[in-house]
């Protein structure tokens, strides 16, 4: 069957195992997830468990259901089957421990808000209902902007920021959430090289702190440089595991089919990661 890393998935089939603590170590686990739009299956029976404290790329061809995978796992769109567990808890309980970064194109950037307003949204959960952000919250938000190099743009209206800057603001908002699991939908789409570098630095920092990071990624050329693990999708689960053993030309061929020339595949999978 599929090449599957020792991710402890088999434990989930045993109901008792979820209670005895072993699955409480698994930061993000999806079991048998199927999603369809208007009777057209986009994801079919996908099971996956994210390796803890690792930086993982979700890759696959266009329409492979990479973004859908994140959205359905988080319960943002309806699924036909499957469940998500966060450290052993059902997703509804686990959302507090997750930070999600949607695609930049998903929002209207003419919204009346400044960069720091958007970052503060990541703290709303902490601030609670009926209360306003305090000086302390503003300072936290500023620190988050600083770690993505955007402190000078805190009071800029978000519509006046460039695409890369907007993406950095989104990342800062996720940092403000101080989560254990980070799920990011194409953070590198349409950003400049400096932003790409800044984002990679932040992602590595998050992983160094023991957090688990999953990133929907498009550019196969950079997979080896940026990530330690991959999840390969093509509507179904193709493979997951460490880059060295999983990012192989056979697996890429399985996911991309004829869409990648075999010479290209060889080049990608044999390129030595710096």
């Amino acid at each position: 069957m599929h090449d599957r890393s020792p991710s402890g998935l088999h434990l989930l089939h045993d109901k008792d195992a979820t209670k005895n603590g072993s699955s409480a170590d698994l930061p993000f686990t999806v079991q048998g997830m199927t999603v369809a739009y208007h009777h057209k299956p986009v994801l079919w029976g996908v099971s996956y468990s994210a390796p803890k404290g690792c930086l993982t790329a979700i890759i696959g061809p266009n329409g492979a259901g990479k973004s859908t995978f994140l959205k359905a796992a988080l319960g943002l769109i309806p699924k036909l089957s499957g469940e998500t567990r966060v450290f052993g808890d059902p997703i509804e309980k686990g959302l507090k421990r997750i930070a999600y970064v949607p695609q930049r194109s998903a929002v209207d950037w003419d919204f009346p808000a400044t960069a720091i307003d958007v970052v503060l949204m990541g703290l709303y959960g902490q601030i609670g209902w009926f209360r306003w952000p305090s000086r302390k919250h503003r300072q936290t938000a500023l620190d988050c902007l600083k770690s993505v190099g955007m402190q000078d743009f805190a009071d800029r209206q978000i519509g006046q920021l460039s695409g890369g800057q907007q993406q950095r603001v989104f990342l800062a908002r996720a940092l403000a959430q101080d989560a254990e699991v980070y799920l990011m939908d194409e953070p590198f789409a349409g950003v400049d090289a400096a932003t790409e570098k800044a984002i990679v630095t932040v992602l590595r920092q998050l992983v160094a702190e023991g957090r688990t990071v999953l990133v929907v990624h498009h550019d196969l050329e950079t997979v080896r440089d940026y990530y330690s693990h991959i999840l390969l999708l093509n509507g179904q689960h193709v493979a997951d595991g460490p880059v060295e053993t999983t990012f192989t030309s056979e697996n890429l061929q399985k996911a991309y089919g004829g869409r990648l020339a075999s010479t290209q595949l060889d080049g990608l999978s044999q390129a030595s990661g710096a």
Binding site: A113, T114, M121, G149, S162
Partner: protein, 411 residues
């Protein structure tokens, strides 16, 4: 006129004063909730809500009048209005969820059908010749004349409550309107938040039926935030300004109506609100069209100045009269058409800046095309310091390496 000023200064009698204050509170609350309806891009649904109140009002009147002889009781009529408006919203939601129709199609269908049912019921009421039906017309276009003291008080209190609720939920509503997926992923119940927003809107529509009328009540929720949007780029300020515009527009409209009892109150309020909109559209320094024209004028001058200075840097002749006059006025060019010392040093600065911008366009074409101030402002004011650093290193490697101690970010 005298009557108008008397009403405006709350000295045209207790009832009129109460009606005006009630209208002001209604305007403030609907302006506040309207901000989020606008930001959620659901202004159309508010039209469905208001039109869907009519069958409820008519049915409530028939039932109350025939069985309890209480057809003029405002709470009963408003309860009927709220009920049918609620059903209307649920119908729109249901059509949207269970068919492949878009929301606007669903709204158009529900809105017209409910209104048609309401009109048929009004005709039925006329043919039944029930007593007390004269007051029903007021629900279409709004009528404050002859409003009872208790009615005005009910409106004022209910509007204040809705406004208070909006302010309490401001954070969550902002989140919902800006980034629904993020809100849901952060654990907020988005469906429920959406329902709360619609429920508050429904509350305002129902409360405002008597004052503004169902045809125009929606203007009270839409025009104030639209006008306020010209003035600010922050949600809390937007809510405050929209509430202010809604309150003063409704207050002035109600006072006008008190001095001219034959005029429909709703129409007067909307006209006053519209004047606020026009003024905002014209003179707002943030997004108004005069400010935009001024900005364009300045923009043109910046372009000419920059191109003139670049021409000086490249030792090309400056031919265009506008460019020459701008250069001369800035002291960059002498009367003889030759660049001054100041002009030459400024030209060198601009030339370097332009090289960085050109490099940026070369390295990140997609990004730079989306950027508003590309090659108009000094690059350090537009791009983050680290991006500029990369460009500087690319442009002039030796220079950037020796300059490593400085942070390169000159803002």
């Amino acid at each position: 006129m005298e009557q108008f000023f008397a009403a405006l200064t709350l000295s045209a009698g207790y009832n009129t004063a109460l009606v005006c204050i009630g209208a002001a509170l209604l305007g403030a609350a609907s302006g506040a909730i309207g901000v989020f309806v606008l930001l959620r891009k659901r202004t159309l649904i508010s039209d469905a809500v208001s039109h869907a109140t009519l069958p409820g009002v008519a049915l409530a009147f028939i039932i109350a009048q025939i069985y309890f002889d209480a057809g003029r009781s405002l709470p009963v009529l408003l309860f009927g209005a709220a009920l049918s408006a609620g059903i209307g919203v649920l119908a729109v939601d249901w059509i949207k969820a269970h068919t492949r129709l878009t929301e606007d199609a669903a709204i158009g269908t529900v809105l017209s059908t409910f209104f048609a049912v309401g009109m048929v019921l009004l005709t039925v009421i006329q043919s039944l010749s029930l007593t007390g039906q004269a007051g029903l017309e007021g629900f279409l276009l709004g009528a404050t004349s002859g409003m009872l003291r208790s009615e005005a008080l009910t409106i004022a209190v209910a509007a204040a409550l809705v406004g208070f609720a909006v302010v309490l939920r401001m954070k969550e509503f902002s989140l919902l309107c800006f980034d629904e997926a993020f809100a849901a992923a952060s654990g907020y119940n988005v469906r429920w938040l959406d329902r709360t927003l619609l429920l508050l809107l429904l509350g305002i529509v129902v409360i405002g039926l008597k004052t503004v009328g169902l045809v125009l009540i929606i203007a009270l929720a839409i025009i104030p935030p639209v006008a306020a949007r010209f003035w600010t780029d922050r949600v809390p300020v937007l809510v405050a300004i929209a509430a202010g515009i809604g309150a003063s527009g409704s207050y002035i409209g109600a006072a006008l109506s008190a001095s001219a009892p034959n005029m429909p109150t709703g129409g007067l309020i909307v006209l006053v609100l519209f004047s606020f909109f026009v003024v905002s559209l014209l003179i707002s320094p943030v997004r108004g069209i005069l400010a935009a024209a001024l900005k364009h004028y300045r923009f043109q001058r910046i372009v000419h100045l920059r191109q003139g200075l670049l021409a000086i840097a490249h030792e090309e002749p400056v031919m265009e009269p506008l460019t020459r006059s701008i250069l001369r006025r800035g002291g960059f060019m002498g009367g003889d058409g030759q660049p001054t010392v100041k002009g030459q040093s400024e030209a060198r600065l601009i030339e370097r800046d332009q090289k960085l911008w050109n490099l940026y366009r070369e390295m990140h074409p997609e990004e730079s095309h989306a950027l508003a101030d590309w090659s108009l402002k000094p690059i350090g004011e537009v791009l983050p310091a680290d991006t500029v650093n990369v460009l500087e290193q690319e442009l002039c490697p030796q220079f950037a390496r020796t300059d490593e101690t400085g942070n390169g970010g000159t803002n």
